[in-house]
Symmetry: C2
Subunit: 411 residues, 2 copies
């Protein structure tokens, strides 16, 4: 008998029928003699509907009141799911974030969990009840309702698993696991049996939407094994844990890609870096996420700087740069839209220095021009033309032998 945290996302509880299906998935774990804590999101389209009403009333509604509004979504789901379980003869009890003791910082719309007071949940688990907790939400010490931002229900599930010392945290979603790449574009993509926290973090940051990076970080910090699996299809998902699995020769574990990237290049920078940090501070203040940065600090008098952003942030980025241009920090700037980023991810790269070169060669052989590059210990990203993206991803998927299933060997 173990303690399992199960998390079901908006699609898995999107209709009354889906809620009934979700109840069945919970009962399976009870029949296997596990204690179960369930974390749920708002029903499918609920959040969008609530946001739409708010936007009709206010262009820029207060974050406090948005948290008040949106937190109702999960509260609806927990009560309905509890009823579905009761109807099947299983004793369940639902709790909102504040009732479950999920304490957060005093920040609205994107709060971090600071503590979970688990006494109440433990008491109800000990009374043989299924405990259902509203994801995405918490409460401050002053009794203010907060939400955890994007991927918040994943974070709630992992944080509860950590606080309760659960044996496993299962993330049910609309895909059957973590794939080597996006199967909608890469026909040969296949489900991974397991992946490390660090690899998953890179995948999450590179736009593989299956799990939010903050939840993976949390799981890594507390060493909570995660399993991503489907709420509809009964088959093993992908285990995310510390590196305990070695795949034969498989240095690269996944290929991620993202379109609508823009490259900005700033020419004839003033000498010195003091104003450079000013630009990035100003962009950060506007919530503009700068990704790859290339800075050519040569011996000549002036330098140039390139960085990539999401194309949706271009308008605001231009405004920030034009503000700096007036101060003669640089001579002029240019931008190139219609770009994409293709990345390879794998823990094995650390000990295989030739991986980046192999990637560049493969892309060159496919006549794909690389415009920017960025590397970390376990990933290499290249910015290319957007219309080459899917082709590049397929080339890389094949180059690094992700197309063929390999036997995985557990340590």
């Amino acid at each position: 008998m173990g303690l399992i945290v199960q998390k079901f996302g908006g699609t898995s509880v999107g209709t009354v029928e889906r809620i009934q299906n979700t109840a069945e998935r919970i009962i399976e774990e009870i029949i296997n003699e596990n204690q179960v804590v369930v974390v749920v999101s708002a029903m499918g389209k609920t959040t969008d509907q609530l946001v739409s009403m708010a936007k009709q009333l206010s262009e820029n509604p207060s974050k406090r009141e948005m948290d008040m509004l949106l937190s109702t979504g999960e509260q609806v789901t927990i009560s309905l799911l509890s009823m579905a379980l009761a109807e099947r003869g299983y004793d369940a009890v639902s709790f909102t974030g504040w009732q479950a003791g999920i304490l957060t910082e005093e920040v609205h719309s994107n709060a971090r969990i600071v503590d979970i007071q688990t006494e109440k949940i433990k008491h109800h688990l000990d009374s043989n009840q299924i405990v259902i907790v509203a994801g995405f939400q918490g409460v401050t010490v002053n009794g203010e309702i907060t939400t955890l931002g994007r991927g918040g229900s994943d974070t709630t599930a992992v944080a509860l698993a950590a606080a309760l010392k659960a044996d496993k945290c299962m993330i049910y979603t609309d895909v059957t696991g973590v794939y080597t790449s996006d199967p909608r574009y890469i026909p040969a993509a296949r489900k991974l049996e397991s992946i490390s926290y660090d690899e998953m973090l890179e995948l999450a940051n590179l736009g593989a939407g299956v799990l939010h990076a903050r939840a993976v970080e949390f799981a890594k910090n507390f060493q909570i094994p995660l399993e991503v699996c489907s709420s509809m299809v009964r088959e093993p998902g992908t285990i995310i844990e510390e590196e305990v699995t070695v795949e034969n020769n498989l240095i690269v574990r996944g290929v991620a890609f993202e379109k609508e990237i823009t490259r900005i290049t700033v020419f004839e920078l003033e000498k010195g870096l003091q104003n450079l940090s000013g630009i990035f501070t100003a962009l950060a203040e506007k919530n503009i996420n700068v990704d790859i940065i290339i800075h050519n600090q040569a011996a000549t008098e002036n330098a140039y700087l390139s960085f990539s952003i999401k194309s949706e942030d271009l308008k605001e980025t231009i405004e920030v740069l034009e503000g700096y241009q007036e101060n003669r920090v640089f001579e002029h700037f240019e931008y190139e839209t219609g770009l994409a980023k293709v990345s390879i991810i794998g823990s094995g790269m650390i000990s295989n220095p030739g991986v980046a070169a192999q990637m560049f060669e493969a892309l060159a052989a496919g006549n794909i021009r690389i415009k920017m590059v960025s590397t970390s210990e376990i990933k290499v990203s290249a910015v290319i033309d957007e219309n080459e993206m899917v082709n590049a991803a397929n080339i890389l998927h094949k180059t690094f032998e992700l197309d063929t299933v390999k036997e995985e060997i557990k340590n």
Copy 2:
């Protein structure tokens, strides 16, 4: 400068446009230099939609989980209304029942308020904020979410007005006030300028849906003046207060009526009353509301008993009675459906003993046969044929001179 509690029902906040209109009504009181606490219900059809989802999942959902589910309705409204006020430049803050300190008994679906901890609300009023509170809901000392049952938002508003020692509690609804009778059936019905708590209580109990009896009781106990008025039409409503207004010669203040009444008559009762109370206890356990009871306890060996119920409860009532019949408590029973109840209400009746006789004469003159009668100090009810109901109500409305506007004299 005063403190006003404003309560807006489901119709007044049923759409985004209505919420904007409601915001304007609140701002009017702020411009009049009042402090304002607002209590709101769930948006129009929200509760029905939530109940429908619950019923799809469970025939008989737990009351605890129904409270969890339904309490989200008002939480949506408070946040949207707060946003609408902020958009107009007015500082508002919303609170759920538990945040507002509304403590109830540990009973689900029909809890009574036991205490209101007003510190938080007072603090925000003192900071010149409009305080918006979710009606209909509270919390137990153990942190369980409860709801207050039918008319719960009215009760929240009156209880808050009492706890905060407000100067007035305004109940905004879809009618412009309390009428001498239902204008849909009685063309001559007119709005009352004022009415006493006791008269309003009788009206509420007799099916005049504008205010819930529990809220009126609360207002009477704490002597909170209520005003019932329209959220759409700007005109004075009806003041409900202790008897401070005397209308010239107006003994009867209102005519109420209700159809779908059934009369049950039980024949040849066993001697003694012990089993009689048993019948009514059994009916109460089934939540069957028995209204008028006529018991003929004559000197003869056996007695008979008549009582009236709502026709919708007939099936269950027959089941209860058939259970008793097996115990030979009585010989047999009969029932007559298709009846209605017509009532006259007025505090002035206490000192005018001829009012009931005048009512019976007027009905007799209209060839309307009375089947049952019940009286209190301030009302007389008669059960008649359903197809005579509207005719009878119009006759009584005219007989007691409610058709013509009379000058009201304030003491």
